[in-house]
Symmetry: C2
Subunit: 431 residues, 2 copies
């Protein structure tokens, strides 16, 4: 089935049109992160297996790309970023004033069955705050997660944030005599309470001597009163006029074992009710990863590129905004049409001068009919074609949007003329 | 030796200060590529081993991170991009007008002994032109390689391009009765002619019945007259006024077997004479990779991030330009100082409004002494601190560069005032 030209299953090629879609996401992720005062960091793609298997809980163990390198090291392609970040921040924390507000956009790898919205290689946007224990840090990340959705063109009806606190469950566990060592297994059951059939959940709850009703009751009645941190988060988001996007939902516990407090997920409000992003507090991970030699309170947020890309296609406001952005992605500003091949050297000289001025210029690398050159110019989305023809050193400048044309006489400063035209809006399209 | 906080040997962490250095390179690579009309693409990090072992010549086989995935596939972390690009472009060529001018900035992996300028994980900038057989495409990439160096702050005395043509060696081989199947082995000897001791080279040349003098003589006397393509490339670069950066040097053959014609390397002119980038024509690779089902003339250029980063530190004009750029990399534009903790909700509301206007704003997430807040503000390189204190709803705006201060009275449009101040240059520093 797979032809020679295909990537591995679950992996993607990004020729320019597909790359623009990633680039659109990356720009928005980065723009919002910077608006929130986050600084970019990056970690290695390859890490010691121990970091992701033993130290960060190991739930992703089944899905790891894991192998032995030529030096006999047990290594993995990172399945996510948090354990790497814990390792890096522990080593760097003395060099930066706290809290660290760090973001990253990079690739992660999970060996899963490839399907819609789930691939083996994907991009993930991570934003984390380390060295700040107060719920203000959780609120800051939840606000950022809301603004990422708004910046992508999603409105109040398109998504919501489901907010929870693992601490409420830790208290619940104490009240119901669940041993701390069993908490993870218990939370794995809660994590699937909306998806698994009731019979299956009842069966799984048996060893804990808790019935399903008690759990469901706790979820539906506890509200934000169950957690001082949740009230603080909601108060903070209220001051920002963002709490209309948020609802408390204790059924959210997040899959990974390292979460310790406030957790949240961003849900699409359409019929699919997919989780498109999520995050939470992981106050013990830095200590675990460094075998106790460092300790940093921490909270994080992550969004992958696959599910959100699907959602953009489904929601008209988001899709229109993306399509409008695409129209601004010209591959050059000026296309030089070489209408007289004997003037190629002059065109090269002029083209290089235009590029040196900072403008993007392109031209045909080998002789081409003039009408084909104009087609190539249109394809680049360039606003202007500069014609070097028999009338050289006079030049013609054509606006490819309005289809107007002017002569740039010999002796003019061509760069200044082009820059002035690029700054001015297009005139009306000539009939 | 390795502490818990270290990445694997030959891999790097990029906390924000180190990340800025990569970001600087990426911005310049991207800016020059776009000025030349290149479109961004990307490939997967993981590829089938066959693509890089058998199809692209396999010289990097010893250095591959290679393993079997959970599905029994023989896979590698890509050691470079060219074979992936050949695969992708073959599948896409009908969807894009030719020539394809594509660039990429991404990570590559080689299991080598880590040393200065050579790591196991590195970034590589690739620019390639596919579907254009004329030397104009080679000249376009060589011009781009020169402009990348100029844009980084390197001048005529800091680097040069060594230009060669494998076709000249193919002709030489024919004249000296070297079988085409032995050409690669012969070129491997030429590739090391400047580095290996004469005795070693003589020994290696024996099976070819050619003496070292003949080879050296060919290198020193052939010049650009040996190749019509080289004359064309030089003529093209001359029209752009760039040939002062270029010298013909037939000792350049490039290590990889897939090169077929014009090849070049960018050399640092300092005492280290390192190759910092290189490229060349590979007209047969697309056909090889697709088992003959596609065919595209192609030429490419690549620069890694390791050696060039060393060189930037060594050349004052380049270093000063980088340092000046660093000073522009503020992590926010406005830092909100919360001088009266009872006004935190007001500060949050204001901060969110500022971010919503597109500006980058930050503030302390938990209560902090005012002088510490100003220190935090200075650390972000923000130009302005906005003080929310007991006089709220009046606000104070402090310029952190000129150390001037003004009051923004209640009822003003705070965003408009801040934007106006950000657009204006700083006044003189107050004594």
């Amino acid at each position: 089935m797979a032809s020679n030209n295909q990537p591995l299953p679950g992996f993607r090629d990004f020729p320019p049109r597909e790359r623009l879609q990633s680039r659109y996401l990356f720009e928005i992720w980065k723009r919002v992160a910077k608006r929130y005062g986050f600084s970019e960091y990056e970690g290695p793609i390859l890490e010691s297996a121990d970091l992701y298997l033993r130290k960060s809980g190991g739930e992703l163990g089944e899905q790891l790309f894991r192998f032995e390198d030529k030096g006999g090291r047990d290594v993995v392609l990172r399945p996510e970023l948090t354990a790497s970040l814990a390792r890096i921040s522990a080593g760097q924390q003395r060099d930066y004033p706290k809290p660290l507000k760090w973001f990253e956009i990079g690739r992660c790898f999970r060996y899963e069955k490839p399907q819609r919205g789930r691939l083996r290689e994907f991009y993930q946007f991570n934003a984390d705050i380390l060295g700040e224990a107060s719920p203000a840090a959780d609120a800051e990340l939840i606000a950022l997660s809301i603004d990422v959705m708004r910046e992508l063109g999603f409105g109040e009806d398109d998504f919501s944030i489901r907010l929870s606190d693992r601490q409420a469950w830790i208290n619940f566990a104490q009240d119901h005599e669940i041993a701390p060592s069993n908490l993870d297994s218990f939370l794995q059951i809660v994590d699937k309470i909306e998806r698994d059939p009731a019979e299956k959940i009842k069966e799984k709850l048996k060893p804990f001597s808790i019935d399903l009703e008690t759990v469901r009751n706790f979820i539906s009645t506890a509200g934000d009163s169950c957690s001082e941190n949740l009230s603080e988060v909601l108060k903070d988001l209220g001051a920002r006029n963002l709490n209309r996007f948020v609802e408390v939902d204790l059924s959210i516990v997040r899959g990974l074992a390292y979460y310790t407090g406030v957790v949240f997920e961003v849900f699409d409000s359409g019929k699919n009710l997919r989780s498109v992003a999520g995050g939470g507090r992981y106050d013990t991970l830095v200590s675990i990863v460094t075998d106790g030699s460092s300790d940093l309170a921490a909270t994080g947020y992550a969004m992958g590129d696959c599910v959100i890309s699907e959602l953009i296609k489904e929601v008209p406001t988001a899709l229109l905004q993306y399509q409008a952005w695409l129209q601004t992605q010209a591959t050059c500003e000026v296309y030089i049409v070489i209408a007289d091949e004997s003037k190629r050297s002059n065109a090269l000289s002029l083209g290089h001068t235009i590029r040196d001025s900072g403008l993007a210029a392109d031209w045909p690398l080998s002789p081409m009919k003039v009408n084909k050159q104009f087609k190539a110019a249109d394809h680049t989305l360039a606003r202007f074609a500069l014609v070097v023809g028999s009338e050289f050193p006079d030049l013609k400048l054509k606006n490819l949007n309005s289809r107007t044309e002017e002569t740039i006489p010999a002796g003019s400063n061509t760069i200044d003329v082009i820059k002035a035209r690029l700054e001015a809006p297009d005139g009306p399209l000539l009939a």
